[in-house]
Structure formats: structure tokens, C-alpha cells
Amino acid sequence: MKRPLITAVVAVGQLALAALAVAPQLSARLAGDTYLVRVAPVDPIDPFRGAYVALDYPDLRHGGSRSSVEPGLGALEDGESGEVYIALAETDGVWVGAEWTRTRPTHGPYLACDDRSWQVRCGIESWFLPQEDAREAEVLLREGAVAELRVDARGNAAVVDVRAR
């Protein structure tokens, strides 16, 4: 093979691998349905990641557990760790967590999450905003807001917007 062709194959192959790394999130954005979920702030700016608003979802937390230092949905506290699935149900125009299971629900909608770190994470725990907008968003979140999620058939989720309720 000629060198330009080899270089092109390497570039395309590596781009495909990068896409594979984020395939669940891409799938949620491209093929998911829209769900509105109540949202609250945890920490306005994570200094190691730029201007990301860390989001908390009061209606998706399990029992009375709370997330604190870093964003997350609390803990399942069943002595296991791994995949967690949160079945969603609609209440008063927003979606709330109805059931937390270790086995994938047979029908949706549900969120596919993970609690191998010390709390449940669903890939929807932070939202990027420029520095100035992040401070405004913090005020908005305190006054009550909803996150617009895209969730695909496999439970992969992505935040696409945060707005006043």
C-alpha cells in the first residue's frame, strides 16, 4: 500500500474507534425519544472540566440516598455493583424513576446506568455551558427547571437542554 493510503486507513480506522467509544451517547442523541425530568444543581463549575453544570435529578434518586461531592444519583445499597436500570413513569408532565433493578426491563422507557463507582451514574450528570451562562443556569436551576433527555431503546441517555419549567 502507498503511504497516503495507509495514513488514510489509520485516520479513518481511529476515527471509527473514537466513534465506538461514544456510541451509546451518539445513539441516544440521534435515535432517542425526548423525556423531561426535574433537575437541580449540585455544583456550578467543575474546575477540572471547564464550565460544566453538575446536575442532580431529585425524581431519579433511589430511596432517600443523595449525591454530594460529585454528580450522581445516590446509591442502590444492595451489596452489589454493576448495571442498574431505572424504569421511567410519567407524573404531572415530567418523568420520574419508578423502579430500580439489576436486570434490563423488558419494555421502556428506562435509563441504563452503572454503579461501579460509589454512586449511580447514567451519563446525564453534567451539562456544558460557557462560564457566564453557567452562573445564570445555576440561578435558573435553583428556581426549578427541567432537563430534556434523549433516551434510546437500550436506555442510553443524553442531556440535550436544560430550561425553566
Binding site: I6, A11, G50
Partner: protein, 408 residues
């Protein structure tokens, strides 16, 4: 032999280290002066070899690779941490442009036969840049950065680059990230000491088989795979011999099964493709895997203040197994001319003997006597090991003399 009717056909020259070429020329001059060779024969032998200057570790090469490493890591850090005015898409685009520039730049330099250290530095930046690309894509789309599959995909990308271009720098990045993923992915599901031992042993089998498969195909990669195999085998027995490191036995996970399956498949592949004694390398690594796993699952007394018969037996068998492995690695290093293996085996044995000595004797022997016992143990092991190494080298030299003209 000296006079031929027609000129000899052109012979491909071999690259050798400068000090080897200097030694050969010195010997050729001696043989010529003694009448063993004619001037013409000496000249013809001499033209078969050329000095491989790039094999030397020059200051320039070290600085270039060090600089490329720092720039690569710095770029990942810079983009991930400080460009907070950029949107996720803009950050990803910035990283993608840098990665592509390094990739295309490195390959363009290689095509123009630029200085190998400069090409290597550019390729190292491209391999690190691909890692930055994967992690920036993940960050932009809220994928947790600690997920093992990101490291695994980085390794796959680096290997794609390395194997298509036969490039050493991306290969080394691939090996480092690949080895990291090898442990990170299975331990993501279940963490226990025996799983680490099994992963080390299976890793040794897989990389030993890969080394055999690469022999005569890509020799540089074979050298690295063989080094990794030796390191993993030594580490497997080391961890297995630590008293109480096993925990409550082995916790199986799907990835652990995949790891063992990959090791078995590579061994079968090596047996089919490279027939002969070479298959002893992955088979030897498989013996290490079995021994290490058995030692790890063999739990002796839990009371650290006393040493009973089972503890002594565990320690004695561990030391014996480690010495056998070290001697085997020295033999392999001697046969293959692989100095790194020999050194790894010797350093590994020193560290292992000292560690085991403390682990076994510390509870029952204290103070100055501990040092006396340890020193005696160490001297005995060192003496036997060095004697075995010298006898092995002599035996191999004698074999070479009797079967002159045959390859190793």
C-alpha cells in the same frame, strides 16, 4: 574460494551495533595478518555488515521522545482542563485537528525518509493524540473517563497505526495502554487477588505466543512482546507467592474467560504457524499460569504470628517455582540474545527472594538474625543461579560449535 570466475552476486547487508562492527573489523584484521583470510575475503565479509547508528540511544533521540511525550500529555491536559471557553464540539474539533496534523505530519516525514528520531517523535505525538481524541469525544458526550473500554479502544487504535506502518512509538503506546486495559477491564467487574494472578499468567501466555508469531515477521515487535511476557510471568508468580494475597478465591467474570480464551487461541495459533521448539515459550508461560493460580488458591494459616508446615511448604514451592522460571528466562534470553530477559530474571529473583525471606522469616526471626538468615538465603540463591547461568551459556556455546552453520 578466493578466485571466482564471475563476480559474486550482491549480498544484503546486515545492520549491527557500532561496537559489534568495530569488534568484527578488529578480528578481521587479526585473521588477515595471521593468514587465515585473504585481504579480499576480509573485505567481502566486512561489506556484509553496516553500522546501525540509530540503534544507539543518543541524547537527541531521548530528548525528542521525551519532548513528544510531554507535549502529548500536555495537550491532553490543556484541552481537557483549561479551554473552558470552548464548547464540547469546538474542543473535540481542536483535538481532532492536532491528532490529524501529527498523524499526517509523521507519515509525511517517514515517506521523505526524515531522521528516524524525528519521525518517531511525530508518531508518538500521533499515538498520544489519538488517546486525547478518544477521551475528548467521551468528555464531550458525558462518558465517564474512567471506563476501561476507552483505554482499550485507545490501544486498538495505536496498534492499527503501529502494524500498518511498522512504527515503534505507536506500538509502545499500544502495549502500555493494552496491558493497562488487560487488567482494568476484568477487574472493573470483580476485584480479587487470584484474578490478578490469572490475568498476569494469561497475559504471559498471550504475549509469549504473540512473540513467537512475530519472530521473523516483525522482529522489533517480537522483542517487546517477549519482554512483556517475561515481566508478566515473573509478576504472576510473585503475586501468587504473597501470603494471603488471594482473598476468598477466584471470582469468575466474562472478561476473565475472554482473557483465558485469547491466551489459548494465541497459543494454538503459534503452534500451527511456528512449528518446533518455539512453542515451548507459550507452553512454559501456561505452566507459570497453572503454578501461579494453584499457589494463589492454596491458602495456608491465617495467623501471621506463627509459621506452620503449610506456610513453609508454600514458601519453599514458591521459591523453587520462581528459581525455575528465572533460570528458564535466562536460558531464553541467552538463546534469543535477549539481554533484557536475563536482567529481568536476575532482578526479579533478587526482589522475590528478599520479599519471601521477610514474609516467611520475619514473624519468627527478628533483628540481626533476620538479616543473617536472609543474607544466607540470598547468597545461596545467587550462587546457584549464577552457576546455572554460566553452565547454560557454556553448554549453548558447545552446542553452537558442534552444530556450526545451523541457525538457533
Amino acid at each position: 574460494m578466493t578466485d571466482t570466475a564471475s563476480p559474486a552476486p550482491p549480498v544484503a547487508t546486515r545492520s549491527v551495533a557500532p561496537h559489534q562492527l568495530a569488534w568484527l573489523r578488529h578480528e578481521l584484521a587479526d585473521w588477515t595478518s595471521e593468514g587465515l583470510l585473504s585481504e579480499e575475503q576480509a573485505a567481502r565479509i566486512s561489506t556484509r555488515y553496516r553500522s546501525e547508528h540509530h540503534a544507539r540511544v543518543s541524547v537527541g533521540r531521548v530528548l525528542l521522545h521525551l519532548g513528544a511525550g510531554f507535549v502529548g500529555v500536555g495537550l491532553i491536559w490543556l484541552v481537557a482542563a483549561n479551554l473552558d471557553e470552548l464548547s464540547p464540539v469546538a474542543r473535540f474539533t481542536a483535538v481532532a485537528v492536532l491528532w490529524l496534523a501529527f498523524l499526517v505530519g509523521g507519515e509525511s516525514l517517514a515517506a521523505r525518509h526524515a531522521s528516524p528520531p524525528i519521525v518517531g517523535a511525530a508518531r508518538l505525538l500521533a499515538a498520544l493524540g489519538f488517546g486525547a481524541l478518544v477521551f475528548q469525544a467521551a468528555q464531550s458526550l458525558q462518558v465517564p473517563a474512567y471506563e476501561p473500554r476507552l483505554v482499550g479502544l485507545w490501544a486498538v487504535g495505536a496498534f492499527v497505526h503501529a502494524y500498518l506502518t511498522r512504527a515503534a512509538a505507536p506500538f509502545l503506546v499500544g502495549v502500555v495502554t493494552g496491558v493497562t486495559w488487560w487488567f482494568m477491564q476484568p477487574l472493573w467487574d470483580a476485584q480479587d487477588g487470584t484474578a490478578v494472578v490469572v490475568l498476569l499468567g494469561a497475559g504471559a501466555v498471550l504475549t509469549a505466543a504473540l512473540a513467537v508469531l512475530h519472530d521473523g515477521w516483525i522482529d522489533g515487535f517480537a522483542w517487546t512482546w517477549r519482554t512483556v511476557a517475561g515481566g508478566m510471568a515473573l509478576a504472576a508468580l510473585f503475586v501468587a507467592a504473597i501470603p494471603g494475597a488471594a482473598g476468598d478465591g477466584l471470582t469468575w467474570s466474562p472478561w476473565l474467560v475472554v482473557a483465558l480464551g485469547a491466551a489459548a487461541a494465541a497459543t494454538i495459533g503459534a503452534a500451527v504457524v511456528r512449528r518446533g521448539a518455539r512453542i515451548l515459550e507459550p507452553l512454559g508461560a501456561a505452566a507459570v499460569l497453572l503454578t501461579a493460580t494453584t499457589l494463589s488458591l492454596w491458602t495456608t494459616g491465617t495467623d501471621a504470628s506463627t509459621v506452620d508446615g503449610a506456610d513453609w511448604a508454600h514458601a519453599a514451592i514458591s521459591v523453587a517455582a520462581y528459581v525455575v522460571l528465572a533460570v528458564a528466562l535466562v536460558a531464553l534470553g541467552t538463546v534469543r540474545g535477549h539481554q533484557a530477559l536475563t536482567w529481568m530474571a536476575m532482578v526479579g529473583l533478587v526482589v522475590f527472594t528478599t520479599f519471601q525471606g521477610f514474609a516467611v522469616f520475619a514473624p519468627i526471626v527478628t533483628g540481626a538474625w533476620l538479616f543473617v538468615v536472609l543474607g544466607t538465603l540470598f547468597l545461596g540463591t545467587g550462587f546457584l543461579f549464577d552457576r546455572a547461568r554460566r553452565e547454560l551459556v557454556q553448554a549453548l556455546d558447545a552446542t553452537d560449535r558442534t552444530s556450526e552453520g545451523t541457525g538457533r
